[in-house]
């Protein structure tokens, strides 16, 4: 499993396009929003958690079809399916690799982009924390969506139609926790809910995703 993780990470870094693309997309979104809503610091600071969350979510979405598609096309997914590790483990590792290459850079970069949105120090902290807790769920849910659409030739658009509604609870609790934290209110409940979604997604969705992959490989 570690070998698989290392392989996926190497592929993501060396093949190009996967690793930095999400981050660049995130940057562009953070740059475009002030152009659209105006440069007033108060307005930007108020909508910043929402914008950063939506930006992170879309950046995550961009690279989802890479999780299984390339392996499906060159046949290595078949090999992985017959490998001694269970399919559920493969799915979890691939989601983890997606998180490390997409989610983690976003989490690390979010405070910097927060500065573009005139967030204060408390803002940096809460954006960092909520994204850190929430992005694993985004990767795992996305891996499930990617598993559903892996056999399709033009799955990209369908993938977003399937995955985005599934992202709604994560987005609501993540952005709510960040907003409350920045406003100085108690945000224990949304934070716990966010962590609960992540934990449940990581625990349960590998089973659904590997079921979908087995169906697609049939």
């Amino acid at each position: 499993m570690i070998a698989l993780l290392a392989r996926d990470l190497r592929l993501a870094i060396r093949a190009g396009g996967g690793f930095g693309l999400g981050l660049a997309f995130f940057l562009i979104v953070s740059v475009l929003v002030p152009f659209a809503v105006g440069p007033e610091a108060e307005v930007l600071a108020r909508i910043a958690p929402g914008i950063l969350w939506v930006g992170a979510l879309l950046a995550c979405l961009l690279s989802l079809d890479r999780i299984f598609q390339l392996d499906f096309e060159d046949g290595s997914l078949d090999l992985l399916a017959t490998a001694p590790i269970p399919m559920e483990g493969t799915v979890a590792v691939k989601a983890l690799a997606h998180w490390i290459t997409t989610g983690l850079p976003l989490v690390a970069a979010a405070p910097v982009f927060g500065a573009l949105m005139s967030l204060d120090e408390r803002g940096y902290w809460w954006i960092f924390v909520t994204l850190l807790i929430g992005t694993p769920a985004l990767s795992m849910i996305g891996a499930f969506g990617a598993a559903l659409t892996v056999g399709l030739k033009r799955g990209g658009l369908l993938l977003s139609l399937l995955v985005l509604p599934l992202y709604i609870p994560t987005l609501i609790f993540g952005a709510e926790a960040a907003t409350r934290g920045i406003g100085g209110f108690d945000n224990t409940t949304p934070l716990l809910m966010l962590a609960g979604i992540t934990a449940a997604a990581v625990a349960l969705l590998p089973f659904a995703a590997s079921a979908a992959i087995r169906i697609n490989l049939r």
């Binding site: 399937l162 509604p165 609790f173 709510e176 969705l205 659904a208 169906i215 049939r218």
Partner: protein, 258 residues
Amino acid sequence: MPEMHRTKQARDRYNFLWEWANPVKFMWFSGLALPWLVAATVLTMAIGLIWGFFFTPEAANFGSSVKIIYVHVPSAFMAISAWFMMLVASLIWLIRRHHVSALAAKAAAPVGTVMTVIALITGAIWGEPMWGTYWAWDPRLTSFLILFLFYLGYMALWGAIEDPDTAADLTSVLAVVGSVFAFLSRYAVNFWNQGLHQGATLSLDQEENIANVYWLPLLFAMAGFGLLFVTLVFIRTRTEIRKRRTHALELRERMADA
């Protein structure tokens, strides 16, 4: 006959319900039941809607706008019930591999979608004079919009996959996972915003629902919408089964030609 190779003993083990999973039997029964269903649907819907629209008093503060309830509440109820029915049918397909079940789930999705849209639109029409806005990010409204998105994704997945069994499998998995997330969204949305929408119009555990003059025709309208749903799903499932059969016949012909 597909029934023949099944022994008596094996047939007894299957309880009564699973008999209808046989396409031949389903076609026979649904063909027999459809005229009655159509008649019952037309009758109850006519009673409910005409009674509701023309023979109920206008409510204080609401005027005649209150009468949209006879479309709004039943369609909203059926929109949720349709998804629930799809979930059950998907589970039956995943566990017991009954083709009729998968096709029924497929057949129910567009009907449920239309019900969701009707509920949203009638709600918007009602909301404009009452709340002063067509749309508010109220939990109930928002959850229905999310439900609509789930329906769209479900149907898009059916449409995208060519192999019918693969499509049935994948959409069933999506229906199961989607149900969990739809449920979760409902609570997330509740948490996110307090709403304008009033509480449940009808519920079993309340002493008093809405006043009796409105309640009875509403009951008829809901029964009518329920019957309409069953009728449409029957018709659509029959069409799906026939499509499968024509497809099989075409394949056989092509094999014979080759």
